[in-house]
């Protein structure tokens, strides 16, 4: 089951952000647009360990057709892709910078993301750095905080529903063929 073309409910569950911050950094329409328009995702902090959360997310996104570029200074190759020590070393354009690093490192990562002209910055679940978010947003990037890119993709493509989770998607319109 894919999502219908109808409206999505506001998803206010499970975030430490205030309602105003959720409006800025967790807008469901903005997240859906980002998932639709993104092709290349650099994952900063992608682990080489297949049992880590970042590997779960990376392998899922790869399976869903995104090009995943690992950023990890301690690995040569992850998920069959060459790993780079930092964003600046990536020799091709990046649409989305997805971050699995502690909040304290995120301002520096945001600056790198701006420098390589990425279109969006996405800090994973439970990673909140408002200074990094404001810096990236001020420089024209779409910013998502405290959300998981895999969960959000799965939410809008019917997968999360299969696991019995509350997607907050309500629609009487027929689903699209995926």
């Amino acid at each position: 089951m894919g999502p219908g073309p109808g409206v999505a409910c506001a998803i206010t569950l499970n975030s430490s952000l205030t309602p105003a911050q959720q409006g800025l950094y967790q807008d469901p329409l903005e997240i859906q647009r980002l998932l639709r328009d993104t092709r290349t995702i650099a994952i900063v902090g992608l682990s080489a360990d297949p049992q880590r959360a970042s590997w779960f997310v990376g392998s899922y996104l790869q399976k869903e057709g995104y090009r995943v570029i690992p950023v990890n200074p301690r690995a040569a190759q992850i998920l069959g892709e060459k790993a780079y020590p930092d964003l600046a070393a990536i020799p091709e354009p990046v649409d989305l910078v997805n971050v699995f690093r502690p909040a304290a490192e995120c301002l520096d990562i945001a600056k790198q993301a701006v420098a390589i002209k990425a279109k969006a910055l996405w800090l994973q679940l439970r990673i909140v750095n408002l200074e990094a978010a404001e810096f990236a947003a001020r420089n024209g990037l779409t910013v998502v905080l405290d959300r998981c890119v895999k969960m959000e993709h799965a939410r809008y493509h019917g997968r999360l529903h299969w696991a019995g989770m509350n997607t907050e998607i309500i629609s009487a319109r027929r689903a699209r063929l995926l």
Partner: protein, 435 residues
Amino acid sequence: MSDAAEPRKFGFETRMVHAGHIPDAVTGARAAPIYQTTSFVFDDTEQAAQLFELKQYGNIYTRISNPTTAVFEERIASLEGATGAVATASGMAAQLVTFMTLLQAGDEIVASSQLYGGSITQLVHTLKKLSIGVRFVDPSRIGEWEAAITPKTKALYGETIGNPRGAILDIELVAALGAANGIPLIVDSTMATPALCRPIEHGATLVVHSATKFIGGHGTAIGGVLLDSGRFDFSRFPSIAAPSAAYHDLRFFDTFGHYGFLMKARAETVRDTGACLSPFNSFLLIQGLETLSLRMERQSDSALRVARFLESHPAVAWVAFAGLPSHPDHALAMKYLPKGPGAVFSFGLKARSGAGARAAGRRFIESLQLFSHLANIGDVRSLVIHPASTTHQQLTDEELARGGVSPELIRLSIGLENVEDLLWDLDQALLAPLR
């Protein structure tokens, strides 16, 4: 003020009939289809491996997940304001799966003494076999809850509306005590359903239901469900946070965040105990959810009418319904269940000349014409039972007294019949001559 671009938060009744089911792209079927299948074909070996390792979401085997059951799960999660749900074979299974996911040998539960008799036997006898201890407390005394907590306590447990004397749990107070001690509060909300009370809104961490009752509503299917608020920090909770030996040291909380508890409950506990819900029963429970608020409001209103009638009847000694000002928890009921404290309550018969309360109870039940004498609650039909001789008969006298069950106690579950007809039936049975 409306804004077309603003995502809308839909109301309860809208979610009752729509949440969790979008007409599928291929057939456009409007009602949720019944996927009566044990298993699901893989795309290829790599996808199969990724599904088994939980790296992709998808269906493998109906013991773990099923598309019809997923509609039921998401719908009830949406109605409770939960992050998700796992459906189980019964309400007892939902409770057991919750405990087995959360607890390990040596852990303890602090539980309200005002519980369904089957829950008490599960806590006392079955969990004992797993080396899990339980301490019962008077739910209305927060000091008893606090005093019963030890370093081994890993869960607090109570019922929104206690069975069978209608004690109302002060969810906010007990949840706050749990939060202060890093212990999740589990609430069995079977008697309330999300139409009357949503425990997560009051701070409960986990909610369990016997869906057999008001959720199904029609007495057609046994089922249960457990739900997670997604708000509890399980990062220091060993059973959820520690590497799982059953999944190559996968750390469920670290990997799945607020879905960690439910993913573990599904992928480990339900998978390994086999306590899954049948897709056909899921379908029946979905049908029940579609009219939930309508039934709960009508049945609660009728229950209040019946309770008032009994309270003024000369053959009745007492009525324990939190909707009546005479009930000790009436104020709590007004706070947590403003639409009515459900449709199940108990009352006591007066002893009659020549017969004790027990014999009077037997005569009453055998004289009823419309109330069905059976061991269930939450049907569209009105039901009656004498717990001391049925649901609670395995309890010792001491456990019986602690649960507030006396020999003259009759439990009613009020259905959708014409309420005047119900009053007529009760009156004629109360006055039926002793043989």
